[in-house]
Amino acid sequence: MTTVAARELADGEVVFVGIGLPNLACNLARRTHAPNLVLIYESGAVGATPSRLPVSIGDPALVTGSLMVCGMADVFQLFLQNGRIEVGFLGGAQVDRYGNINTTVIGDYAKPKVRLPGSGGAAEIALHAQRILIVSKLSPRAFPERVDFVTSSGQRVTRVITDKGVLERDAASGELVLAGLYPGVASTDVAVGWKLRARSQLARLEPPSKLELQLLRDVLDPQRLYLKS
């Protein structure tokens, strides 16, 4: 998933980075094909080159040696709402047929079965980044026909990178369709909460290269904070 996400990023793009896999993916891209990627964190750090894998989005390692640190009013007004962010990464407990994401509640809002953390910046990232990449493990439960609560809108979602394959948003219907598979995964292994359509030509997602694996395991996440396998 991390390498596939990294390959989605073009050199020089301005990326709004979340913690965890998106952060790993961005730093992998920077060290391979996209050395001029500009990473902006919700916390206000711009152009960070963290000397250790940041554990939170506000890690002090994102500040030391970054190009700019600004207050959060500037992050949301001058960068995000201003339209300066080209790519935003989002994840969520639920992703639905139209790319809407739920990170708020499972069940009814007033009487939640499970109370999740809520939006954070997700509501506005989804509206203002020029394109949204979702990174999420795939299962019918995590990909229902409709989310219990729309925390962020699916309108700008372009791709959903999962552990089975990649979904894309179909421009005509607006719904997510299967676009690519990892080696060894069949279309029938990809089960979601609605009847998933597939592109007529499915891309074969290349496995991580030796270099990518080495960077991830030895340089970027040697303590295996995010890489579990």
Binding site: P60, G71, E124, V150
Partner: protein
Amino acid sequence: MRDGDVVVIEGFTHLICFAAGHEIIRQRRRDLTLCRLTPDLIYDQMIAAGCAKKLVFSWAGNPGVGSLHAFRRAVEGGTLEIEEYSHFGMVARFAAGAARLPFWTLRDYAGTDLPKANPRIKSVKCPYTGEELATVPALNPDVTIVHAQRADAQGNTQIWGLLGVQKEAAFASDRVIVVVEELVDERVIRSDPNRTLIPAAIVDAVVVEPWGAHPSYAQGYYDRDNDFYVGWEAISKDRAGLAHYLDEFVYGVGARAEYMEKQPRLIERLKAGEQMSAGVNYGF
């Protein structure tokens, strides 16, 4: 601080004033409306201790770890009132409060369920283009507590590293308490006036409390205690564990110095290394 106050202890990951939160718990304040973008462990502890009537927030999790369990128990059990925004919505509420405007305008929430969950998210029509834009109401706390790296005795306060919404929260508030790692001579402040985020003119009290932000961090003073954040998952998962933590580390200590004495290895483990800024010339 009085029972029933609207209270803000801000700081985005950085400079979260746990010392103040613990003191509020010890003083057994009740019926507080607690506001923060990220309630974090500090409000989880205050909720567990029974200080909070209501929570105003935008992201209630333990970053990179999991849930805030006291928060979850209270919300899922229906014992805590909540008012929920996105981060931008909360930032905008503080911006309006700081500018003493009744509302702030933002482009947000189209296609989401947030306005349904929170009727205080409204809209306004642009008098130039006619388009509808989202609005949030101003947030003007009774008390805001800002943790900072340094201030002079008058309260002129300097912060570097992540700035969060500390400036806006302070200017929005009726009363402002600044808690600092270090009290410095006015000359230090005056040597770099662009670094001052909060002026003495709006500060009601200055408290010196080194390590007062632990387990969060203070850039240039000490690192974030990530182990504590990870450990909170187990501590807070059941009421008894959390109560035990509060007994030992909050009720069981008289002040911050005792809290630090109980954890003698913290300083050695977390004390910051040195990476000094290049200076600038203010001469003319």
